[in-house]
């Protein structure tokens, strides 16, 4: 059920339950909680070193969210409030995998984004770009049995923000994912290839250089739809099983 790994069976105390153990990404390829160039982190990112929490039942389980969280209409952000959103129509698709390469099926994917003009439908966003009466910027889909997801939206616009003088966020779509465990929870942003705003964006640049490409979708001509929509693929990788030998648990005869 948890896949084939080289984990040794636990020396059962009162039960023979074997819990999965989830990989922790190396420090130098993980987005740090704080980044000096992103000013809002200064008063919000915790300053003390986090304490290691062993992965036990609470950490290796997570909510089982059903199809009732989504409707078919949630996968099309271009048709809202009785009309069609303005902007370049795009299909965004990909697979949700774990780091062992296994698909993550039946996972809830929640997305939100600015409209084609770079404006969010939110009371806190009042920069002078127009709202679109037919775009609310919210989508929800579940991955299928092969971990695939797909939704239709419009290409979001870039927008200015107050981080530094003339700061602009590169176009992006926010993603929120539940895997099967608390340890796999991920909130992130998908970017578009070749964006000229990457170099000046501290949120993008907070990602270590060796991992930045993983946050950028790829254009896929094969999946464009004639006379209808462009297409971008973005595969998302959640934490998979930790394959390093577990010193305290194994007695040397790991298969």
């Amino acid at each position: 059920m948890t896949g084939t790994t080289s984990r040794a069976p636990r020396p059962a105390a009162d039960s023979a339950l074997e819990l999965p153990r989830y990989l922790r990404e190396q420090e130098d390829r993980r987005t740090p909680v704080a980044y000096a160039g992103y000013r809002s982190t200064a008063l919000r990112a915790p300053l003390r070193t986090p304490v290691d929490l062993p992965q036990r039942l609470t950490e290796v389980t997570g909510p089982v969210l059903g199809e009732d969280r989504v409707t078919a209409a949630d996968a099309d952000l271009t048709l809202r409030m009785g009309g069609e959103a303005l902007g370049q129509r795009i299909n965004v698709f990909g697979r949700v995998l774990d780091s062992d390469g296994r698909p993550v099926p039946d996972a809830l994917v929640e997305v939100w984004q600015a409209n084609a003009a770079g404006r969010y439908r939110h009371v806190g966003d009042n920069w002078p770009a127009p709202l679109d009466p037919h775009f609310d910027g919210l989508g929800r889909v579940m991955t299928d049995s092969l971990g695939r997801y797909e939704f239709t939206t419009i290409q979001p616009g870039a927008y200015p923000w107050g981080n530094h003088h003339n700061a602009w966020r590169p176009a992006h779509i926010h993603f929120s994912l539940f895997g099967r465990a608390f340890t796999q929870r991920l909130v992130t942003q998908m970017y578009f290839p070749g964006d000229p705003l990457f170099w000046q964006d501290p949120i993008f640049n907070a990602i270590p250089p060796s991992a930045r490409h993983r946050a950028i979708a790829t254009f896929d001509l094969d999946r464009t739809q004639d006379n209808w929509a462009l297409a971008y693929q973005w595969d998302i990788v959640l934490r998979g099983s930790d394959q390093t030998p577990f010193e305290t648990d194994d007695d040397g005869d790991v298969a």
Binding site: A13, T41, A45, P46, L53, L57, E59, A211, I236
Partner: protein
């Protein structure tokens, strides 16, 4: 030009060792470590999280009116001691029997139908405050033959946090169980432990979360 290869075996290969059987040679293309995809890096939830992450029933890990339901409430503070009015708190926990409705957990009778175990609350209204309606969790196996004290795993998301931060809520009226809990015992002092222990209130329990400051909450790496 030198290439910083991911594999230490390749990186450290030289003419004295790169012909040893099983040792890949530079550029051979052999996978010399377990197959592993790189993880997608996290990013901040940003200021407009409520667009995408609002559920009408988010704060209700159990339905209103459920017998024994409690409110977990608290405030979220930044390093200036100001309330954080655009954060999101998510909670995950066992049921009152210490069980999880999940394929990787021990199976058994579930006595709390409708209990989701998961709660999600914004801190928008009232500003800086969260509230989750749930059942008090039972004690959970610690994997070493003992029991953990009742606890709730908590994720905090906000603008200004590039990744979620993780903490736990324990319960102030569980002194005996808390004293046996090895996660609490692993913390350096009582002041640290206090940052995780919710105190009883009229309708449940209350615990403030301090992202920074003298009372900075203990956060965990999972």
């Amino acid at each position: 030009m030198s290439i910083d290869h991911l594999s230490p075996q390749v990186r450290n290969a030289d003419e004295t060792n790169d012909r040893r059987p099983g040792t890949p040679r530079r550029g051979s293309g052999f996978l010399d470590e377990p197959f592993q995809l790189g993880l997608t890096p996290s990013a901040t939830v940003g200021p407009y999280l409520s667009i995408g992450l609002t559920w009408a029933d988010g704060p209700h890990a159990v339905a209103e009116g459920t017998e024994g339901a409690i409110w977990l409430r608290g405030r979220v503070f930044d390093g200036n001691g100001d309330l954080v009015p655009d954060a999101m708190i998510e909670t995950w926990q066992a049921d009152p029997d210490g069980r999880f409705d999940h394929p990787d957990a021990p199976q058994g009778e579930r006595r709390f139908p409708g209990f989701r175990g998961f709660g999600r609350s914004h801190t928008v209204e009232p500003a800086g405050e969260y509230g989750i309606l749930t059942l008090k969790p039972g004690r959970v196996d610690d994997g070493k033959g003992g029991l953990q004290a009742p606890h709730v795993d908590v994720s905090v998301f906000a603008r200004g946090l590039l990744d979620r931060v993780v903490t736990r809520i324990y319960f102030g009226d569980e002194a005996a169980a808390n004293a046996e809990d090895d996660v609490l015992a692993s913390l350096p002092d009582d002041a640290s432990r206090r940052t995780l222990i919710a105190q009883p209130t009229e309708d449940g329990y209350s615990l403030d979360i301090h992202l920074q400051g003298d009372d900075e909450t203990v956060f965990f790496a999972v």
